[in-house]
């Protein structure tokens, strides 16, 4: 069995330490937002989780293109891993957004374009996992996964741009948003520092989890090959 690389162990430890530091900074370093109070502190991780989620889905597109060009099974494993990591962080993004919305918008959920497009994006990739499992032939499954990941990615820029092209109450962090947004705020230098540090920390955690997921995929592939050899 393949030994765990030392670099991965270092990355594990680094992820835990960085997450602890980011949490401390979000709770104690960043000042309390003047109107929203403490719930605004969730925003640092909410945006960072959305970022990592979208990067996971982007990786699945890159892996999908690489698979279609080369036919190498390793790209299917990378693509599947990207989708799984993307889903975990997209889930965190959607749920924390809902928790933030309860005191700020006075509702857990509203049919706002950003919330709807983010949910559609999430469901598109849940369907990716479910539909894959229904295909027995590994080559057909990988080809389906590659094409689905490329086509399904349309939902990602649509989610990102939804607050810029539709009328929405969701605050816009980068660029100009709808003036009707509820919960928008100007970041102080400390808030900005925590925000960018959280983006960095979640990216490191995302890479760490992705590496573990890819290794799991390789191991599963080995088991399937050995089972096939034993039966033939």
């Amino acid at each position: 069995m393949e030994r765990k690389p030392r670099l991965l162990t270092v990355l594990d430890v680094l992820s835990i330490v960085l997450l602890a530091v980011a949490t401390w900074m979000a709770l104690f370093w960043a000042p309390m937002e003047a109107l929203m109070g403490n719930v605004q502190r969730v925003f640092y991780f909410h945006v960072a989780a959305g970022w990592v989620g979208m990067m996971g889905f982007l990786l699945a597109v890159i892996a999908g293109i690489a698979y279609l060009r080369t036919g190498a099974g390793k790209w299917d494993i990378v693509g599947l891993s990207g989708v799984e990591i993307g889903l975990v962080f997209a889930f965190i993004n959607i749920v924390t957004g809902s928790i933030w919305a309860r005191p700020i918008w006075n509702t857990w959920w509203t049919w706002d374009p950003r919330l709807v497009t983010a949910t559609i994006m999430f469901l598109v990739y849940v369907a990716y996992l479910m539909l894959r499992e229904g295909i027995d032939d590994p080559n057909r499954r990988a080809r389906f996964g590659a094409i689905y990941a490329i086509v399904g990615f349309v939902s990602v820029p649509l989610t990102f741009l939804s607050i810029r092209i539709f009328r929405t109450i969701h605050p816009t962090l980068v660029g100009s948003g709808d003036p009707a947004a509820l919960g928008a705020f100007d970041m102080t230098p400390n808030m900005r520092m925590v925000f960018f540090f959280s983006l960095f920390v979640f990216t490191v955690i995302g890479i760490d989890l992705l590496w573990h997921r890819i290794r799991l995929g390789w191991l599963k592939d080995q088991v399937e090959q050995r089972k096939f050899q034993l039966m033939s």
Binding site: M1, T23, M32, E33, A34, L35, M36, G37, N38, V39, Q40, R41, V42, F45, H46, A49, V88, F91, I92, V95, T96, I99, W100, R102, P103, I104, N106, I205, L209, H212, R213, R215, L216, L219, K220, Q222, V223, R226, K227, L230
Partner: protein, 53 residues
Amino acid sequence: MFFLQQGPAETTDYMILGLAVIFVTMLLHVISLRVRRRNLEKDIELLEELEGK
């Protein structure tokens, strides 16, 4: 909710809930990765035993 508001709103409970969701979700994913890996390692051990027979 912000009309005529004096000072920040008391939203600490929601912050705790949000952070709990983040940490629990990540922890569950780590556990899931660990469990799936352990199961596959058991499968390999079993396959090695069968190959040896």
